[in-house]
Homo-oligomer: 201 residues x 2
């Protein structure tokens, strides 16, 4: 939007909205217009939700989760199994696992995976805090819930080596056919893994 047409305030709003993942320049303009049109129902509450998030949200110094308290709600939750630690790349993965509701354990958020291309080295990830948590002695199993990508698996191997001396059990997520998935659409690697790890019916 040329600043001669709309004020610089609108232009700045569009520019910032366009930096959100999933919004390009065109959808940022649509989002800005929607915000302006629905001032009371959307713009005002969103502006205050953002101000509140800015003021209150902190990163948990223990696990790297984001929350309004440090330690976070999960780290303080006494009902969770303290002997299992689930290692994830990102808070989004933690949320996905919590939505699945399949495990009541604690997490450790790496904040990324090792990547030669993106130049992310071990010291860029929360690995020292992971080693320190495991060294404390109360954790019996570390589940590596990392993406099944080259970088994810490289990171998994690195962490396995890192924790080898500590005698903790290190496991990883199973490979296989996604629930509801059609064989026809799966790659050979997944099919081979699903066959190899077949279970009795």
């Amino acid at each position: 939007m040329p600043s001669s047409v709309a004020g610089p305030e609108i232009e700045r709003l569009i520019q910032l909205l366009g930096r959100l993942p999933g919004l390009g320049p065109r959808s940022a303009r649509r989002a800005a217009l929607q915000l302006i049109r629905r001032k009371e129902q959307l713009l005002t509450p969103l502006a205050s939700a953002m101000a509140e998030a800015r003021d209150k949200i902190v990163v948990c110094s223990s696990c790297g989760n984001v929350d309004t308290s440090d330690p976070c709600t999960i780290c303080r939750d006494e009902r969770r199994d303290p002997s299992i630690l689930v290692v994830v790349e990102d808070v989004a993965d933690l949320w996905a696992l919590e939505r699945a509701g399949a495990i009541r354990a604690r997490y450790h958020v790496l904040g990324g995976v090792l990547s030669a291309i993106d130049g992310r080295r071990p010291e860029d990830l929360n690995l020292a805090t992971l080693a320190a948590r495991v060294a404390e002695g109360s954790i019996g199993e570390v589940i590596l819930a990392l993406n099944a990508t080259v970088d994810g698996q490289t990171t998994a191997h690195y962490i396995t080596d890192l924790l080898a001396a500590q005698g903790v059990k290190v496991t990883r997520l199973a490979h296989g056919v996604p629930v509801g998935g059609e064989l026809d659409y799966l790659d050979e690697g997944t099919l081979a893994a699903a066959l190899k790890s077949r279970t009795t019916f």
Copy 2:
């Protein structure tokens, strides 16, 4: 996100972001995480840009444009041709025409088009202000820059009838092949219109 995992602040942020056009529940979560991760570079400036928009942006009482002043920058711009009025459905269309930079005129934003399905009747659009602006007498041509949809064209016909008594020239955008468009992908209606309105080379 269950509120047991992240605080209600994060949940509320995700919920409000999900109401922006173009963001579903999944991308709203990604956007929220991106905002939290990039607090200084993104969340803080966006929160203040929204607060500023909320406080400053008004709808122009003359043309229906959104701006930080009323009358808006375009209505106050003396260098624009006061004899041409471009009628658009929406502020997004006004922005698109301004980006094209093809005309230096004033606008009239209808705030929608007539629609039997959505129940939008003439009194729901800014038609009374349009008739009043034309009745003032300084406008010689009204360009109907409405979408080439059934509702857009119905609205165009309605406005033509509405302004018929006032002796103003009413025109509409040409139909034809989009610049860079491939004939192969165009519908028969567009091709027929492009042939009918063919020009000498």
